[in-house]
Symmetry: C2
DNA sequence: CCTACGCATTGACAACCGTCAGTTCAATCG
DNA sequence: CGATTGAACTGACGGTTGTCAATGCGTAGG
């Protein structure tokens, strides 16, 4: 645990009643939290969340040319969101000739999903 | 579904092979996606994710004075993060005398959690 | 009252984000 | 080769975010 656990809660306590239970600390490692927060951040945009949703329910790979018309956005903007998802490790891409296909990386959401449950 | 479903995928298709499966559309409503993305966005910061983690495993309410020393941040910054979580509907707060207690709102994470699984 | 305390708010600032128009690049076709 | 096509990259822009110092505000104790 990288967050220091201040065992002595506070030095000044004007009244007798305790503020709250003595020690409360996150038992999620900071790295663990940072990793999950990065995934959550990538999902923190409606467009990207829907992109993941499309790719997830479409088991195989989906062409970018199919994704762009689903949103009222320019092609570069959709491409940018896909790049964000790729850099977050949520999706992968693969080129086949002129087209680029994206797919969800299996288990990429597992850590966050498990923590949420 | 608010996203228009362009049934005719594309007009120009230079080669015979199809780009990919004909239609792929998100069956998550846009409002649904926007709501879940807002929750994910609130969790998209390591500090806020750890705050939620602390509050969650601490069944009852936790005093702010216990939360601040867990992080290497100023008290206003922690207060700001708590405000973000409150505005996202993830936590609630309650004052008792000098102290403010925060707690996780039950079921606030359920929608996102269900979608992730 | 007056002081001290816990917490929230404000103002400021650098950094980052979402978006688009324009451009580039690789690959395919004629 | 030259033209076209799908997708990524670049530059620019307004808006948002995370952080802190400083301040404000309500409550409790003397």
């Amino acid at each position: 645990m990288s967050i220091d656990l201040e065992l002595t809660p506070k030095t000044k306590r004007p009244v007798g009643q305790p503020c709250c239970e003595p020690v409360v600390y996150p038992d999620v490692e900071r790295e663990h939290a940072t990793r999950m927060a990065a995934v959550a951040k990538a999902l923190g945009d409606p467009v990207r969340l829907q992109l993941i949703d499309v790719l997830r329910r479409h088991a195989g790979k989906v062409c970018v040319c199919e994704l762009v018309p689903l949103f009222d956005l320019s092609q570069p903007t959709v491409s940018h969101h896909l790049k964000v998802l790729r850099q977050a490790g949520l999706v992968g891409s693969e080129r086949q000739g002129l087209w680029a296909y994206y797919y969800v990386i299996p288990d990429a959401l597992d850590e966050l999903s498990a923590w949420l449950s």
